[in-house]
């Protein structure tokens, strides 16, 4: 195996047509180009930085083969991501539900365009067969569409005009909670990931997501989709790395308003993060092992990160 395949081109002095006609042609045909490998980086504030720590870690396929190096996020990356998420809250929560819905549909369109790439990554990472991987990707895109539809409907279903004993309109509307930390499921690298991000952002929250530690590659490809879909920078921030290292910093961060611990596999870590999250009374989705991501998701996750706001408005003259 030559160290550089580009060297395998024909020699400087071409062989004569009579002596080795076939050899030159064969060499020409087998000249392979050097593939351009993707650098998997973090996704923070709409940009793709490397980890502040400069670290990375090797990601292997389900079969144990080396796939790529992913960035190994540090606590300072968590801090930067929370800052970016906080800055994005007001424009994203202030956008109309219709506008947010349109952007989410746009993301689904972009996902559709990368179906094959996602299927390959899911297949390698989760060790699925070709058709099972494609099914998982299709389910993820459909899941995203399903949540996108809720953007301008959730207030209709979960808001209310309350009857009160006085000359007032009394209206309750669901409002976003703010910055939501998310620990993505470890096993389901795309469907699970989509199922925890979409319900958070569709209602106007922004998120800091700790991607699956062992299967992070689809999350960064998803970030590339998000970056090209009119989603404002900072609404979704994706960090790859060790959940046991960054998770507690995210859970204890005083500027994070809620956290979804559904993807935490280790019970001790889950408890530690719940305790840390209690310090500023974050809304918490507790660790729950063995979720079936292919099942109909229900609205638990979407409703968990909403705050009901009630206004009294005088009626009549």
């Amino acid at each position: 195996m030559p160290t550089n395949p580009r060297r395998a081109s024909p020699p400087a002095t071409p062989p004569t047509a009579t002596s080795r006609p076939a050899a030159g042609a064969v060499q020409q045909a087998t000249t392979s180009r050097v593939g351009v490998r993707k650098t998997y980086k973090l996704f923070v504030g709409g940009a793709f930085p490397r980890s502040e720590s400069g670290r990375s870690y090797a990601v292997s396929s389900a079969a144990g083969d080396f796939l790529a190096n992913a960035a190994l996020a540090s606590r300072k990356d968590v801090r930067d991501a929370v800052k970016a998420a906080r800055a994005a809250v007001s424009p994203w929560a202030g956008a109309t539900a219709y506008n947010r819905g349109q952007i989410l549909y746009r993301i689904a369109e972009m996902l559709e365009g990368r179906r094959a790439q996602f299927a390959d990554e899911v297949r390698a990472g989760e060790g699925l067969g070709k058709s099972a991987a494609e099914t998982a990707v299709d389910a993820a895109i459909d899941r995203w569409i399903w949540y996108a539809g809720w953007s301008d409907k959730v207030a209709q279903i979960y808001g209310n005009a309350n009857p009160v004993a006085g000359p007032f309109f009394n209206l309750t509307t669901p409002e976003p909670t703010g910055v939501v930390g998310v620990v993505a499921p470890a096993e389901s690298s795309l469907l699970g990931l989509v199922s925890v991000i979409a319900p958070v952002i569709v209602t106007g929250n922004t998120s800091v997501v700790l991607a699956s530690e062992t299967r992070p590659l689809p999350s960064i490809t998803l970030a590339e989709v998000l970056a090209t879909s009119d989603l404002p920078g900072g609404v979704v921030n994706l960090l790859t790395g060790r959940v046991a290292e960054t998770g507690p910093w995210l859970a204890s961060h005083m500027d994070v308003n809620a956290i979804d611990l559904g993807g935490v596999a280790d019970p001790a870590l889950g408890t530690q993060m719940e305790v840390a999250a209690a310090e500023n009374l974050k809304r918490v989705i507790r660790p729950r092992g063995g979720e079936d991501w292919s099942a109909e998701p229900g609205l638990d996750r979407l409703l968990a990160f909403l705050e009901p706001k009630t206004v009294w408005h005088p009626k009549g003259l």
């Binding site: 910093w249 961060h253 005083m254 500027d255 994070v256 310090e279």
Partner: protein, 327 residues
Amino acid sequence: MTVTAKSTDTSPRVERPTDLADVARSEAALRTFLHGLPGVDQVGADARAATLGTRSIKTSAKKWAIDLAIRMVDLTTLEGADTPGKVRAICAKARRPDPADPTCPAVAAVCVYPSMVATAAEELRGTGIHVASVATAFPSGQAPLAVKLDDTRAAVSDGADEIDMVISRGAFLAGRYMEVFDEIVAVKQAAGAAHLKVILETGELATYDNVRRASWLGMLAGGDFIKTSTGKITPAATLPVTLVMLEAVRDFRSVTGRQVGVKPAGGIRTSKDAIKYLVTVNETAGEDWLDPDWFRFGASTLLNDLLMQRTKMATGRYSGPDYFTLD
């Protein structure tokens, strides 16, 4: 003097006769002196500042630096929309920057417009926190001298014990150094016992050579502090400009024996930035300047970041802006 030259200096030491009393005897003499100052190596100054900015200050040293930086803050509100209520609020914050933590030190001073001095002085009486007032037609300095002097006297009589004056950049850039010099002398006289900070507005001075000249001019005329900028134009304070000014005060002390303070103002928003400045102070002027009497930060948003960092170090978890006042 005690200050020793560092081999990494960006400028040669200024070697001058110790008697500077007569450099301002005439316009020509003053110009000869200011233009005789060694030029600043701009690339060198930028590189030196960048290098100093890479120092890693962690754990106990960082804790110490943050507390020192808080004690050096001139908590500033200079808005057309300032009201007595807002000034009272920032005075309360100046006294107890972090109400949740009694060990948090108070800031050095509150900096307001002359019309708000009386309110601030009332609020800060007996606390040891200084009342600083901008004066002399801040921020442009474009007013007749008599108006500027009245401005200064009014602020002092209302209770300001520090006056932040702006120099006439127009006169300075036109080369009328004597006019600027006389104006600083006159304002110093009008300010009486109050400390005089001379704002150079380095963002309008165009070159580091001019910054060095203006620094010397401000010091020769009797300024107790030299301050980078008003905060009203960009660029405001930058690390290399502050480095040049720190070299100037160091050289000035070694020549005359009088120590002058430095105050960068505007654009310093994070604890990390503040610590870079402290490193630069220590490495350029020396430890004598690492004191709120000799180095100040003109800032408003910086304080919250310092408090958040301080809280993070105390509690071990990241803090958020929800836990501190907005102004």
